[in-house]
Structures are given as C-alpha cells and as structure tokens.
C-alpha cells in the first residue's frame, strides 16, 4: 500500500445475501484504487446439511438459502431432481410454477428499487416502492399461504393449486401493477436527481460483463443478451416468446452504468406482469402433481440414480442446482450456485476510480441486498489513525453527494 492511499474495510455485518462479505477498499483521497472481497460471514453449510436429508426435506432447506429467492432455489432444485430421476411435470403445475416465480421477480425488483433509492437518500421513494410491493406480497400470501418462503414447490409439480376464485384476485393485482408501472417509470427513469447520481457511475462494459461471467440484470444492463428463459426455454416459459431486456430498448443505447441496471429491472417488472397475464389466460387444466403420495415419491427417488442439472432465471440472474442421486434417500452431491456469486467480481471494475460516496449505490446496483452493510473503518496510512465509519455515516456521505449535485 502506497503512502498516499487509505484502506477502508467495510463489513462484515452485511450478511443479508447468501454470500455476505467484508470489503477492503484502498482509496486515494475520494477515489477507490483497489477492491478486495472476503466472503464467508453467512456460511451455514447448507449443502453439507442436504447430504443428511431426503430429497423432499431438501426442498424446504433450499428455500431457506435466501428468503428473497425462496421460489428460485426450490425451482432450480426440483428441476435438477426431476432431470436426474426422469420425472415429468404436469402442464398446469409448470404454469403455476412460472406464476409464482414471476410474482417473486416483481417483489424482488421493487424491493431492490426501494433499497437503491434509500442508498441515494430518497426515503420517500423507498416508502413508495415498498407500499407498491405489499400488493404482490398479499397475492403471494393468498396463493401460497406465506409472505416469504412459499413452500409451493414439490418434486414433480406444485403443492397448491390456483382455484377459480383466486383468478379474479390475481387479475386485480395485474391491473394494479400496470398502473403502478407508470408511477415506477416516472419516479426512477424520468427523475433528474436519480439520473445524475446513477448515470456513468459504476460502469461495467460489455467485454467485462462477458469476461466476468456476470448474469441476470447486471449482465443485461451491459448489453449482454443473456436470459435462461430466452436461451434455454423451460417450464411454461417455452410456450412464450421471452426476450432478454437490455437498456437500449428504453434509452436507445447501452452504457452499462447503474442507471441502465435500473432501466433493466423496471422494464422486467413490466415483462413479468405480461408473463403472469399470459399464464393466467392459458392456464391448462389437469393435475398439479405427477405423484401425489409423498411416501411413494420418496421410494421412486430412492431408487433413482444419476445426475441432474436445474437452471432457472432468478431475479438476480441464473441459478444452477446440480444433484447426483445415488444409493439411499439423500443425494450424493448437491451443489447450488446462486447468481450473486457470479456478479460479485463485477464490483471490481464497477468500483474502480469511483468515489467513496458512490459505494452504497454501486454495491447495491447488482442487487446483493446491502441493507445490512454496517460499518467501515478508515485507516490513514500515514498516521495509522483509525476512523470508524458506520453504515449510516456512509449513507450520509451518499446523501450529501446527492444534495451537492442537485445544487
């Protein structure tokens, strides 16, 4: 470390995603020179625990990898097991799975939008977006019985059906979001103060996104047309024509900055609403489970052998589950790869030469749930004086920068 730079560790109390971590920033004045990441604070040994449990118990464990992605992990896991054991899913269940997964995407993107606004100092926008989000939480509760951790997925189908009485209620939600979309677009994409804080901040170029294997909205905002729903259509997505959303659809060009990531997520809310509408209009009749008796299903899975891979486009990008079934009830190997794992390293080019006050919004821009980023320490390399920065102070710096730029 040269004498003209400071070292800023941030964390480790920032464990709200699957991969929480400590950040070490080396800064010169206000500019970030280098970034180092140290994950591991939220390690719970989930894959290890899975090796001692049977497949159906693992579904509920997979749900608890992340409370925000609690439809994505079971979705990918069930697809991996179905792939390994050769179980087919009834068409109605495929549609219900997609409806739940897309409702989750709406809730996750709006949650992210609120957090991003909070990091910039727009708390009124945080409250507005979380108010809009409560509608999707309500419909998820009506359909699944819980606001978070839905317990909807089962090997070979879903556990709850969507009844005829519930359909008008979902249609009401769709109407609500069509209206709310306009409001979100006005607030996030037309507002000059959000634009000045996010344009040309945290840039990830097309090449960098490809080299670092970024996924999801982070990659798409850099112009990489990558979406599992488009590239390898699965489940009910295969019946639809889904196109990866890139920022040039809205603004005509791709910059790969934080603003573009906001565009992608806001447009994806609209896309999800359209997907749910399609699914409701084309919901097939029939069974929702290929095997209703859990004990019999367990017997089938016990006998099954082989490997399976399940992919799903989670709100944050592609999630992959790999399962190897062998002797006994438990899988021999279970590996989950969450999208944030891929996106982590894209922080390095994004944060290079940015200002300290931009850390919250850039870190939040890949949607790692920064809500718990708690403290930072500033160490002056010349005097070795320690200055502890809490998350609040870091946010204050961010808010001050917004005010400066508004003047």
């Amino acid at each position: 470390m040269s004498k003209s730079t400071y070292k800023v560790p941030i964390g480790p109390i920032h464990p709200s995603l699957e991969e929480p971590m400590t950040f070490n920033f080396e800064i010169s004045g206000e500019k970030i020179k280098s970034i180092d990441l140290a994950p591991g604070d939220n390690h719970r040994g989930i894959e290890f625990m899975g090796r001692n449990r049977n497949i159906i118990q693992i579904i509920y464990l997979a749900e608890r990898i992340c409370g925000i992605c609690s439809a994505s992990h079971p979705f990918a896991f069930c697809r991996a097991v179905e792939n390994a054991a050769g179980i087919s899913v009834p068409p109605r269940a495929e549609y219900i799975r997609v409806i739940i997964a897309e409702l989750e995407r709406i809730h996750s993107h709006i949650l992210w939008a609120g957090v991003a606004a909070h990091e910039l100092g727009f708390d009124s926008v945080l409250y507005l977006s979380w108010k809009v989000r409560e509608e999707v939480m309500d419909i998820l509760e009506i359909l699944t019985g819980n606001r978070v951790n839905y317990g909807m997925f089962m090997i070979g189908g879903v556990r709850r059906d969507i009844s005829k009485e519930q359909i008008p209620r979902i249609e009401k939600t769709i109407e609500y979001y069509k209206e709310a979309y306009q409001k979100l677009e006005d607030v996030f994409l037309q507002d000059p103060s959000i634009a000045i804080r996010t344009k040309n901040v945290g840039v990830l170029t097309y090449e960098e996104a490809l080299n670092l294997a970024s996924v999801g909205p982070t990659a798409r905002a850099s112009g990489v047309k990558k979406d599992v729903r488009q590239d390898q259509p699965y489940s009910a997505y295969a019946d639809m024509d889904i196109k990866a959303i890139t920022p040039d659809m809205f603004s005509g060009k791709v910059n790969g900055d934080v603003y573009d990531r906001i565009i992608v997520r806001v447009l994806e809310v609209k896309q999800s609403v359209e997907i749910i509408e399609y699914c409701l209009n084309h919901l097939p009749d029939g069974e929702i489970l290929s095997e209703k008796k859990i004990a019999k299903l367990l017997g089938i899975l016990k006998k099954a052998e082989g490997e399976g891979v399940g992919r799903h486009e989670a709100p944050r990008g592609e999630v992959i589950h790999y399962v190897k079934l062998g002797e006994g009830e438990s899988p021999e190997v279970w590996k989950a790869r969450a999208p944030t794992y891929n996106n982590l390293m894209s922080w390095v080019p994004m944060l290079q030469n940015q200002e300290v006050a931009d850390i919250p919004i850039v870190v939040a821009s890949i949607d790692p749930c920064i809500g718990c980023m708690d403290r930072a320490t500033l160490v002056d390399a010349n005097t070795y004086q320690k200055q502890v920065l809490t998350r609040e102070e870091l946010r204050k710096l961010s808010i001050e920068k917004t005010r400066r730029m508004m003047q």
């Binding site: 464990p15 719970r44 509920y60 609690s70 609120g114 409250y127 979380w130 409560e134 978070v148 718990c372």
Partner: protein, 155 residues
C-alpha cells in the same frame, strides 16, 4: 391493556443478522414501510448498538458471527431487551445440524422475547417489540422506585 401507560418513550432498535436467510430481515424492513409503519410509535432502526434500547437478532448464529453477536450485546447500553426473531434463532430451525452453526442465540446471550416463525409475520414482530417494551418499562420502573428508596433512606 392501556397502551398509553407504556408509550412514554420511543424504542430504538438495532438489527443484527447472524447468518439468517434474509426472510426475517426483509420483513423487518417491511415493518418500517407504510403498510405496518412502526415509526408512528417512535420505533426506529438505528445504525449503532450504542444508540439502541432493543437488540433484534435474526439468524441461527454461525461461527464467524458469534464474537460479533457477543460484542454487539455488550455494546448495547443497559437497560436493554433482546428479541430473537425467527425460528432459526430460537431453536436452530432447519439449520439445526450444521457444522458451522453454534446457536441458538440464547446459548450465548440472555434473551427476553422469542418470536418464532419462518419467517415471522410483521404483526408478530410488533407483538414481540411490545413485549420487550413492557419488560423495559418494568426494569425502568423498578430501578426508579429503588432510586427513590435510596433517596428516602439517605434523607
């Protein structure tokens, strides 16, 4: 129950995540936003345990977070109340047999209120905070009356 009897002072809450899955944490944020809006009672999240009356702990406590849990408990000034939110902090929940989990929370710090659920509903957290409030009022009331006694005896 007469609420106004206990609403003589706002509660400030510090939220510590010791390895939870996020489910409880987003419900805690949902508490502060317009649907549930606990800020109307003066309850708010603070950025430092030194400002807090209540420590809200989520997660099953993993090895790396254990020293931080103890440190933050010690940094919270007395009288304080500790609320454990979520099944995994209460009993270990689905993570009970992991090599990296050293919880539940009450093995390491004293806990006043348990709010089980996976994840908890925001209404349940409000109920838990109210219970912590009652405890704090009791402690404060007791110490106030004992201080009066001391004054009387010295006079």
């Amino acid at each position: 129950m007469k609420l106004d009897k206990y609403l003589d002072r706002s509660l400030w809450v510090f939220h510590l995540n010791t390895g939870s899955c996020n489910g409880c944490d987003i419900e805690i944020v949902a508490l502060l936003t317009p649907r549930y809006d606990v800020e109307r009672f003066g309850i708010k999240l603070v950025g430092s345990p030194k400002h807090a009356d209540v420590l809200l702990v989520t997660g099953p406590v993993n090895r790396k977070m254990l020293p931080r849990l103890k440190l933050i408990y010690e940094q919270t000034p007395d009288p304080k109340a500790v609320i454990v939110v979520g099944t995994c902090g209460t009993s270990g929940g689905v993570f009970y047999d992991s090599y990296n989990i050293v919880g539940p929370v009450d093995k390491h710090i004293p806990v006043d209120v348990y709010v089980p659920g996976c994840p908890i509903r925001p209404e349940a957290i409000i109920d838990g905070v109210l219970k912590a409030w009652l405890k704090l009022e009791r402690v404060r009331g007791a110490s106030a009356s004992s201080a009066e006694k001391v004054q009387k005896t010295s006079a």
